[in-house]
């Protein structure tokens, strides 16, 4: 009962990993699969920095034991865009200088992606709600919200 075979899809790629009971999804992503884009913050579900998409929904990867993510599809920041081909949200964050220290940005971008995928034209209030679980201690959020609005407009135009 201390070791389990974990079948998991991360950024479209299937993985089978032997995990221990106490390993969290966050540990598997960072230490087993080498996806260091997902950051660890408070480790207690308060800051939202470690957020990833699990079956399309935003979850804190520090609050999911790896084996509980069996047969799930995970999207991390590495699955959103690449340096050569940035996602419109990533471009908009760059345009607005929405990232200062950058530590919360992977989570912010995933939260934005989750929002814009189901709601292409969100109000400021909806943007605030969608990102409310993620604490940014640098920016004051204004540029982040502007970036999300810009990304939304760009994504709508591209459709």
């Amino acid at each position: 009962m201390s070791k389990h075979l974990l079948n998991i899809t991360v950024n479209g790629k299937k993985h089978a990993v032997v995990v221990q009971s106490h390993e969290r999804l966050l540990d598997v992503l960072r230490d087993r699969l080498g996806l260091k884009g997902t950051k660890e913050g408070c480790s207690t579900g308060d800051c939202g920095i470690c957020a990833v998409l699990m079956d399309g929904k935003l979850v804190n990867s520090c609050l999911v034991f790896a084996i509980q993510a069996r047969n799930k599809e995970i999207v991390t920041i590495e699955g959103v865009g690449t340096a050569e081909k940035l996602h419109p949200i990533q471009r908009a964050f760059m345009k607005w200088n929405a990232s200062q220290c950058g530590y919360c940005i992977p989570a912010m971008i995933l939260a934005s992606k989750e929002l814009l995928d189901r709601n292409p034209n969100p109000t400021t209030e909806e943007i605030r709600n969608a990102t409310s679980g993620i604490i940014c201690r640098c920016t004051g959020y204004v540029k982040i919200f502007e970036a999300i609005k810009t990304a939304a407009a760009e994504m709508r135009a591209a459709d």
Partner: protein
Amino acid sequence: MRIFDMFVPENLVELLQFLDAHQSGVHLIANGTDLINRMQRRQITPKLLVDLTGLNEFKYVRREGGMIRIGALTTISELVASPLIDPRYSVFKQVAMKFGGPSIINMATIGGNICAASSSEDLLPVLLVLEAQVQLRSVNGERTIPLNDFITGKRKTLLRPNEILTETSLPELDTSSTCGYEKIGMRNSLIIAFVNCAVYLKMNNQTKNIDDVRISFNRTSGKIPQRAQETENALKGKRFNEQSITDAATVLRGELKLTSDFRASEEYRTEVAGAIMKRILRSCAQKLSGEQIIV
């Protein structure tokens, strides 16, 4: 994180038999938003966890026999997204807004919130005023208990070591009744409340007579969500107006014992409790009489 084992049952029968055979030292884990937090803080150090997340049969919201039935593994997001949670149950949307960010409400389950039985759980006051019942299951069968009796103290419930909570059921609201909720904390999201309050109000629309009212608070000195029954009795049968709710707030001040900690003093919480109770009562009454709701 301390090292522990986890049992991952394939189905309900296997789970119940395992629990029956291991009656001590086992912790149940649903989506873990509370449990993992407490493990990280070393408040608990379980040796053996039993994973409930594979039991998809307990993810549902349905209407049956005059009740709204909510499967224990239904998340807060899934609950508020259900078509059964119509405007009469907008109280759940109010709770979800204040409960936590999307990454928390996507994971936190109704059953987990109840079994955590903590005075910081935002959902419990609402379930109390809706007279929720919980259904428990073990190898020996099923039993149903009112939520009010199920939670016996801080982190204490009537759940036996070989049992799981499978469902929460709520009697359906009729058109002359409604429910409201308010939470006051340091900020609007991601925070444990200073005080939170839920109100159920049944009122005659013509006479404005209060036919029935239920009021509950969390963050009490007993560290469990509690009904304020003296205050309820002070309102029952009265006409709804500013005078009657102000009188009720005076009764509440004598009845309610709230906790005092680093977040806020008891005096401050008591002051806030009366104010938010009046605010919710007003918004419930406005909702029932079809007037515009000013919150």
